[in-house]
Subunit: 359 residues, 2 copies
């Protein structure tokens, strides 16, 4: 009806049509208020209802325990790279596990403010997630930092590291809400929302209450988690529209059966593509099998020319943004929650045909 493509972009990325239809329905006049959500005062009764519903729905969907605060911020993951060491390190010591570019960037930023120990770095090719016994963790670190899913390399933690009493902090920008997780195992979880939670310009932060309020003096006020919590994410005007979209996404996940159903669906989707890699010597997967991401499937073709041809021909057939990240090349299919099984089947059929024609 709308002549839409299958959008395999890594983020910002495809939204479910259901969510776009909700946005469209209320665009000029949200439920009889006579205005768009974009135009509403963040202090208005109608908007506060949207805000509270969003919070409640995502809390339910992710099963977030009561001893955690939910904060909506701006600035994406990069702002959290600074905010985390400024807020969570009263002893100014943090351990970072580096599994890709974003974890590395986070560690570099943290080193401006605290003593950073690289507990492990699986570079330079970042094909895998390290095992527990490879981690050089300090007993007196304030937190241990991981990037749960590495968008660029297509790797993802299947089991999270055991950090004992030391809070585990996770950037889940690219796999949040893709599967069930036990929030209580984490000190802090955060995500930029432009992959699995809606649109760009909003960051979603879950932080254990006892970790809040130990931030350093004289840091930017907007980055203080306690200020954000005390103002219920409205110390200043929040990204009102993106919070509304997150609410729609959370309701859509709930409607589809919650994270359990989403995980099942995502496993099925990823398996279709990984099966092709496993049964081909034309397509070479980047990630080690035990470290594969359910969200970003990365692989190479025999030559760069064939990769360019693959991307161009897929585009002609209505499959967009399959080119790998500019830092590593190759092909990357980002298959977040909003990617329908139909899109995967279309890509799989295309991959088989392309291999036959070009091997």
């Amino acid at each position: 009806m709308y002549n839409r493509v299958y959008n395999f972009a890594a983020g910002p990325s495809q939204l479910s049509l259901d969510v776009l239809e909700e946005i469209s329905k209320d665009l000029f006049n949200y439920q009889g208020t006579g205005m768009s959500v974009m135009e509403m005062s963040h202090r208005s009764k109608t908007y506060l209802k949207i805000f509270e519903e969003t919070k409640a729905t995502i809390k339910e969907v992710m099963n977030i325990p009561d001893n955690y605060e939910i904060i909506f911020m701006q600035g994406g993951a990069t702002e959290q790279f600074s905010a985390i060491p400024l807020n969570l390190a009263p002893n100014a010591k943090a351990d970072y596990i580096v599994t890709g570019s974003f974890a590395k960037k986070a560690a570099k930023e943290a080193a401006k403010f605290v003593d950073v120990n690289i507990a492990c770095d699986v570079g330079p090719d970042y094909k895998r997630i390290p095992k527990q016994d490879e981690l050089n963790l300090r007993k007196d670190a304030d937190y241990v930092y991981i990037c749960a899913n590495n968008t660029i390399y297509g790797t993802e933690y299947q089991d999270y590291p055991d950090t004992g009493d030391i809070p585990l902090v996770a950037d889940m920008s690219s796999d949040i809400c893709s599967k069930k997780i036990d929030v209580s195992k984490f000190g802090l979880i955060y995500a930029g929302c432009q992959k699995n939670m809606g649109i760009a310009g909003l960051s979603f932060v879950i932080v254990r209450k006892d970790l809040i309020g130990k931030h350093r003096e004289n840091m930017p006020v907007l980055m203080e988690y306690d200020t954000q919590v005390n103002g219920d994410s409205m110390y200043n005007t929040p990204n009102t529209f993106a919070i509304y979209v997150l609410g729609l996404v959370a309701k859509w996940i709930k409607k589809l059966g919650g994270l359990e159903a989403m995980e099942k669906r995502n496993k099925e989707k990823a398996k279709i593509l990984y099966d092709i890699l496993d049964n081909s010597d034309f397509y070479i997967g980047h990630a080690d099998k035990d470290s594969r991401s359910m969200m970003n499937v990365t692989f190479n073709l025999p030559t760069e020319e064939l990769e360019a041809k693959f991307v161009a021909e897929a585009k002609k057939e209505g499959m967009e943004s399959l080119k790998g990240h500019r830092s590593v090349g190759g092909i990357r299919a980002s298959i977040y929650n909003a990617m329908e099984l139909e899109g995967i089947e279309k890509l799989a059929a295309f991959m088989k045909k392309f291999e036959e024609e070009n091997r």
Copy 2:
């Protein structure tokens, strides 16, 4: 057709119907790309075209000279409260002119990082903008800071202070693009976009090139103006959708005749309401006549009960959010660019009728 109200909210606030119609037209499929702007990779060709057009159009509309950089950030004015002293004060000295709550908050935040001199404070009632000879400016300050329009109090600079060679920094969140200004008189101008430039979650910053690159070491990377400039506001994922909306707003301003036409229209609109205040002893304007804001018209009625009745009855007639800021009470009509003359005439007629019936 859409049954919309007149929305007098102070921000987020009314959008022009033209802008909403553009958003609606391309919501599922932006110009044949098969996806919404919200879903586009910020690195895609289509999105980069939107981004460049937005920048070029706002540069043209505001007549921004070539020796200024345009930056899109997140976090609103509050983030700039921190970013400005961290970026623009190599000597760690700044003068602040306090004309309301937001200037005061900005000064308080800056004092975390630099030596702040309050060059003038016209509180506690903030009815006016100070005269040049009231300003206690230091000769060795790194910059002088003003809030160009005080949303809460309804005051606005008619002439900007003369700061000689010292860069003038202005928060124009609530009057940017409402009138012609000479950008070359400023070192830095910024605005949260949710009033006159679209929607919440985006900050618009114009900074003179020679002031960039003197930021302090070990500050949050996302707040560094040089990092933002070097990455062309894409050091990380920007608020892609809000930038697109800003582009639509800028095109709409251009279509209406640019800032000259906008200023004429805004003057006319404000005059209608201020004439009522000037010809009434029922409505008492808050601001001194020579300091009145063209964007936020603030006034009181004889009693708080009448003020509550005014807001409630106006709401029944399709005029929303006329209640003054919770910190000062009274009535506030925010009449940004997107408020049509028709809305003003409706409010004026209502005010006359309400006075007759309740005096």
